[in-house]
Amino acid sequence: MRARRAWRRYRTATGYALVEHLRNRLALTLVVFFVPVWITLVYLVIADADVRFFLRASEQTITVHGNHVSKISGAINAVTLIVGFMMFIVTYRSAWFDERLVMAGYPRVHLLAAKLTALVIAAAVVCGYAVAVIAYYWTPAQPGLLWLALLGAALAFGGIGVMLGALLRGELEGMFLIVMLSIIDMGLQNPVANPASDSDIVRYLPTYGATQSAVTAGFLETTPVLHLLLGPVWFAAAVAVAALTFRLRTRDRRRALLPVLRRRARTGGG
């Protein structure tokens, strides 16, 4: 009975979370047009000259086709921006509504699990679409692994979007932060834009693991498992912050803490 009720709550909240994404027309327009336009522009504009890329995933420097590796970084840039934006908007705009649902008795864990399920589904679809667009111009060595790598990047930024949506009080701030973070992240890791992209600092960027995995997927036959997991680690860390914020924001505050603390201070009680 309890399991059935929990399943009902999770299923209902997941359905509504997906409905919210599907009714976000700007995000859908971005998915349909921004991904192919961005990758096509990279294909048309970026030079074909070979560039060197330090692949920490296999501890080697490889020489790759500049246009192909830019299509990969362009795809990562597109999916992180779109999924980060989608998750920020949904979390930010429904913050008060979610709080009301919690007050009405909806368990936080079901609401959060539903949002994350919707995020994974949305990210999987967007990344599949981006791989299909790349494959139209060039066949990567491992398209399935490229999809997984893009998914890791999208999840990392989706988690960051959820975190910012829970933490920030202004819509513009959140949008600006996501755009800036994605620009810095990809700008520092693309070997065409930054010949010094083998710096150690890039290891601390949200899509570092995804970029390493995606380049491996594009040009090699190996599978960098640990680097693939870095995206989900970023995702989990960001979601943990969001969950804690949500928990604090929706707690029942009716019991005043200060009188208790003052009483304890007076009596010396712990």
């Binding site: 509504y16 009714r23 649902l101 007050m103 009405a104 008795g105 005043a256």
Partner: protein
């Protein structure tokens, strides 16, 4: 033989709340027995919504206690809805939240508030008054013993305004306790008890002068 008086639906003692140096609430005491329709009126900025947020558990008091033994229904001043969902989708979402077996009560409320025809409309396409009807319905649909309503009739047309009071009286007669917060001391005769929020404290009886009736809104 002595009988224990029934526990009040809401008991508030010595609630204080400040925003920085601005002391909004300075010791609010309130007790609301079962089956009472009560009102709190006050000027803009008097702290009415702060008080209701504390009673609903959304805001911490700096000091004081709030005790309500049963479930409550809370209708916030601003409509808290999701513009992406239809009216029906809101009802189903809150049906799961409240763990209700069906939506008979919610559908009856739609009839009473006269917006059954909007069930398949998305909130983004509704007028302000119709959104407020849904906002109120979400607070009432689980038939809780205590209702906290913050300006519940704002944006209502005259007919819906009258229907709201009929509904409130019906709930009171069925033993529900209702606390209405409003910036206008209009229709004060409808309340069993009325407090005026003055200088951060509740004063029994209405201190405000009668205000004009709400401007009828054009229903969509």
């Amino acid at each position: 033989m002595t009988t224990t008086p029934p526990e009040p639906a809401l008991r508030v003692g010595g609630v204080h709340r400040s925003y920085g140096r601005h002391h909004v609430l300075r010791g609010v005491d309130l007790e609301l027995p079962a089956g009472r329709l009560a009102g709190v009126v006050g000027e803009n900025g008097a702290g009415k919504s702060t008080l209701l947020n504390i009673l609903a558990g959304r805001l911490s008091p700096d000091a004081g206690t709030v005790h309500c033994p049963g479930r409550l229904g809370y209708c916030p001043q601003q409509t808290v809805l999701n513009p992406a969902f239809t009216v029906d989708q809101h009802l189903r979402f809150f049906q799961v939240a409240y763990d209700l077996p069906d939506l008979k009560r919610a559908h009856a409320l739609l009839e009473v508030l006269n917006f059954t025809g909007y069930r398949r409309h998305r909130v983004a396409a509704l007028s302000g008054g119709t959104r407020q009807k849904l906002n109120l319905t979400l607070a009432l649909m689980h038939d809780p013993p205590l209702l906290l309503l913050d300006e519940p009739y704002q944006g209502f047309d005259w007919d819906t305004y009258q229907r709201f009071w009929d509904l409130a009286a019906e709930l009171r007669d069925r033993g529900r306790s209702i606390l209405v917060v409003s910036h206008i001391a209009f229709d004060t005769a409808r309340f069993d008890r009325l407090w005026h929020l003055e200088a951060g404290r509740l004063v029994e009886g209405a201190g405000a002068s009668a205000a004009p009736a709400p401007t009828p809104a054009v229903p969509r």
